[in-house]
């Protein structure tokens, strides 16, 4: 192989750079976010059930919200038949945030951790939260 010296050094440098973040953050204690669901409305629910099971909501809520938006704005269909056939008014402000009235401890805890910045709240009004 020609230039094996250069190639191998290059590869070593590449591997070092790529693995740097993993090596660097080893040992630091990363606290996983725990979105809180202890709002007054949720506490009063007999069965604490979102519109779909928890695992689904965790992974797919962004897609679900996009589909809700298209259905409401484009087709004018507002009723969502959720888990167990229960019906919901498709509305971020009036349905989701009615239960999850703790945006800071619920939405923001994960979004900040993952460093995603959804622009929902540029227009949708976040619930008033008691500063605790």
């Amino acid at each position: 192989m020609y230039d094996s010296g250069k190639i191998i050094t290059g590869l070593l440098v590449f591997v070092a750079i790529v693995s740097f973040p993993f090596v660097y953050s080893r040992g630091t204690n990363i606290v996983k976010p725990e979105p809180k669901i202890d709002t007054p409305v949720i506490q009063q629910m007999a069965v604490k059930q979102c519109v779909q099971p928890r695992a689904f909501m965790r992974a797919e809520h962004m897609q679900l919200l996009n589909d809700w938006r298209d259905s409401v704005v484009r087709d004018g269909n507002r009723v969502y038949v959720g888990f167990g056939g229960k019906q919901y008014n498709m509305s971020l402000q009036n349905t989701c945030m009615h239960c999850h009235s703790n945006k800071k401890e619920f939405c923001d805890s994960c979004h900040n951790f993952m460093s995603v910045k959804p622009y929902c709240w540029d227009c949708h009004i976040a619930p008033k939260e008691n500063k605790s």
Binding site: R74, N77, I125
Partner: protein
């Protein structure tokens, strides 16, 4: 490695099939969670083939008649109150006869008509030029005739504002929130860089409620299905002399004005 033509074609063929299969497989896995059967229209929604308004100008006499209606609309829809005509936002407002019906003012017409203010709003045109020019389909016509905005899609190009011959659209040059005194927590605001206008209260129709301006107008604004010959709007249009704005442009407005002020109005 050397390869003959035949081998090469075999390998490309097989890898193409594998590639297509993989794409189809991935697509099949990431199915949309909302199936068509999972959504329904609200049971008490008001429905029509083509929504329209009849505005009876004889019911708009005092300043209060105008401000009451405007306030009803603007307060529930979080329309900012900006006191600068260059950047103001309006969904329904008052304008002069010559601006409302340009070209229709005649030389010796009654002064009171010439000076009369008119209540104007988006005409929810049957043939809306704003929809035709929108590059992202952020504004579109629903099957019930409402010309809607999807704020999530608006990129703020303002083609629609140039296309609308009625000035029915306003642009958010800045963040509107500081100008909304008492936000309605049930309705979103808008953000910097999007266009907004009257939405025919689609969110109220979905709940079975009348448009807010209709309720506040004390009979001055009537709404209904223009394609239903038995509707109240059709009855009014057939009984009274009505005019629409800038018909010569062919946008087919869905807002009719009864202008005669007397008993025959």
């Amino acid at each position: 490695m050397s390869m003959d033509r035949r081998q090469f074609l075999k390998i490309t063929g097989v890898s193409t099939i594998l590639g297509i299969g993989a794409v189809a497989g991935v697509n099949g896995l990431s199915r949309s969670p909302v199936e068509a059967s999972q959504v329904e229209p609200s049971p008490d929604a008001l429905k029509a083939k083509r929504w329209g308004f009849v505005i009876d100008m004889s019911k708009f006499r005092t300043d209060d008649d105008f401000t009451r209606v405007r306030h009803a609309c603007h307060s529930i829809h979080n329309v900012p109150d900006i006191d600068n005509p260059k950047v103001e936002i309006k969904w329904i407002w008052k304008d002069t006869y010559e601006h409302t019906f340009p070209g229709q003012e005649s030389k010796y017409m009654a002064e009171e008509m010439k000076d009369k203010p008119f209540m104007v709003l988006c005409n929810h045109c049957d043939n809306p030029p704003c929809v035709r020019v929108c590059p992202t389909k952020a504004t579109f016509k629903r099957s019930d005739g409402i010309v809607m905005m999807d704020m999530h899609r608006c990129i703020g190009c303002r083609f629609c504002m140039a296309a609308c011959p009625f000035g029915a659209r306003s642009f958010n040059f800045g963040d509107p929130r500081p100008f909304i005194k008492e936000p309605n927590p049930e309705f979103p605001t808008r953000t910097k860089g999007v266009v907004e206008k009257c939405t025919f209260c689609y969110e109220r129709l979905a709940k079975g409620l009348n448009p807010a301006c209709v309720d506040a107008s004390q009979g001055g604004i009537v709404f209904g299905d223009l394609e239903d010959p038995k509707s109240e709007v059709r009855r009014l249009i057939s009984k009274h002399y009505t005019i629409r704005r800038k018909l010569e442009l062919g946008t087919e407005p869905s807002v009719y004005y009864i202008i005669g002020g007397n008993e025959n109005a």
